[in-house]
């Protein structure tokens, strides 16, 4: 069945917050996310004649936002390439392993949140941990995990030269994240 669009002047109140949450979880900057919401709605206004009704209104808008986010990342990674390259490669990995390559962090027993309340709390802590990463690490992780973008696409988008480099970075992100969750979640 074909979906119909509601009047454009209602889009903001109907979907503004959803779009904003989606955006801010990814770009991690409230001002940028606000701008992206605006750009998305403006682009939607222009594109509404082409709306085919195949997806629901909100899905359609989120789809436009996704493109805006990718454009933003593309631009940002072009600008940040020099600034972050170093921190990208030598993240303080030695905080987690000793010279022999053995763990030197504590491991507490980690329980998976099972209820939705816990799930929500977990997501807040997760966001907090992600924001402690270097911007590029955070971006890579979010694209991979929230958006399920393929590793190849992310490499291209973020100018990472090889898949091996990508996995090395992703692995460091996970070590760091697990440690952060260990401190902030397990203690609950």
């Amino acid at each position: 069945m074909a979906h119909k669009l509601s009047p454009p002047d209602q889009w903001l109140s109907l979907h503004g917050d959803v779009l904003y949450r989606y955006g801010v979880a990814r770009v991690r900057d409230s001002e940028v996310a606000e701008d992206l919401v605006q750009e998305t709605l403006l682009a939607a206004l222009k594109a509404k004649v082409n709306y085919s009704g195949q997806s629901a209104e909100q899905t359609w808008l989120v789809g436009i936002l996704k493109h805006k986010i990718i454009d933003y990342f593309r631009k940002a990674s072009r600008e940040l390439v020099h600034e972050y390259d170093d921190s990208f490669v030598n993240t303080n990995e030695d905080d987690y392993f000793d010279r022999q390559g053995e763990w030197q962090v504590d491991f507490s027993l980690w329980s998976q949140p099972d209820k939705s309340m816990q799930q929500e709390q977990f997501m807040i802590i997760l966001q907090d941990c992600i924001s402690k990463m270097s911007p590029k690490m955070a971006q890579l992780f979010v694209l991979r995990e929230f958006d399920g973008m393929s590793s190849e696409e992310i490499c291209e988008l973020m100018s990472i030269s090889t898949l091996n480099n990508f996995w090395v970075i992703l692995s460091r992100v996970r070590v760091q994240l697990r440690h952060c969750l260990d401190i902030n979640w397990v203690g609950q």
């Binding site: 949450r21 022999q100 997501m123 966001q127 996995w167 692995s171 996970r174």
Partner: protein, 93 residues
Amino acid sequence: MLTCKETSYLASKKLDKKLTWRENIDFKLHIIMCGLCRRYASEIEKIHIMMQKPGKTGLSELPKSVKLSKESQERISKALGKVLQKLEATGNK
């Protein structure tokens, strides 16, 4: 025998791509011997699965309390209004 550092790399890569035959054997050998890495591997897998959830279930990654500020609502609404007016004026509704 792999170090824990190398094993943590494979534990992470495993979530992204099937390990090669050789990698898989090395990984398993280490995991059998090393409780810390065993736990690490299972934890990051749980985190990985949990992070896929919001997208699949339509949940947001952030709580509902995260919202557009009043000011930005107004700003966006103004910007939209302008363009809407223009569109209406040109009869392109």
